[in-house]
Subunit: 93 residues, 4 copies
């Protein structure tokens, strides 16, 4: 089980939508759509993925990190270190 | 013709790769892969899309904006306004 | 006491450095320094502030969030909600 | 002369405000203000600096890049390359 297992179907639906959006962008590029309109669509996909990441992160903190902190301070600290690295990657991506 | 028309095939190949990556993330979620590993993959896709955006933007400046600026200062200014808004959306996404 | 109280002096030193950097950028602007060089300096300050935020966030998770989760699941959940909103603001800023 | 020279005073006023905000954050840290409130203030400063960067970039495109493109295609291309690198740094910061 992962932190997001309880709401897995929602994530799967969102990712399928993102996949469709990416395919739509490829179609736009193939039809020489105006650059700015393509860029607007890419930004929309990026925002959708960002929302997925923020959701996964909250689920992870709620389940995995809190569970680890309940086991032992060391286990909690290790999970927080790991989550902080993931947050840094998210902020920089 | 769009600013990226000359290198369209390269963008199409990149977008197809992104589409495959998104499908891969859905598979990871479906198999309850550890949250942090899913997050790492989402960050990789976001970076790939960011690279697509930066490439499209440079093509747009090189072709569409410079062409407009050659036609008239007003046309150039309008295109720069529009490009600046796209850059702002990119920075915030 | 806040989550960062134990390393407060380090944050204060970093913020003093950022303040100096901002003053340096104002000097560059006042002397009509080339735009791209000013932009490079602004990006450096943004990165420094981002590092401050990521540090504060890790301290907050380590102390405030874990302490709340130890008190009660509800208190933990409320702190995680609040931290997730802060992460979202950080990602979008 | 730089691309932003015409509106230099506005940038100087904004940077002075940012400097004051950074000093305010140091004061908050010194008084052990709650982590989340400090993070909110840091995000506000980051947003203010982002607005400065976007403004400088638009001025740069309007003046320096367009002037270079008028001189020669090569000069224009070199400036666009350089501006694109600055945009990439901005997106990643």
């Amino acid at each position: 089980m992962a932190g997001y297992t309880g709401t897995k179907d929602e994530y799967l639906a969102r990712l399928r939508r993102v996949e469709g959006q990416v395919r739509g962008i490829a179609r736009m590029v193939d039809e020489d759509t105006y650059c700015i309109d393509v860029l607007t669509q890419v930004a929309a996909v990026t925002k959708a993925l960002e929302a997925v990441s923020l959701g996964l992160l909250e689920d992870h903190l709620t389940h995995c990190v809190v569970d680890a902190a309940r086991q032992s301070p060391e286990a909690g600290q290790a999970k927080i270190r790991e989550a902080s690295d993931a947050i840094a990657r998210l902020v920089r991506s």
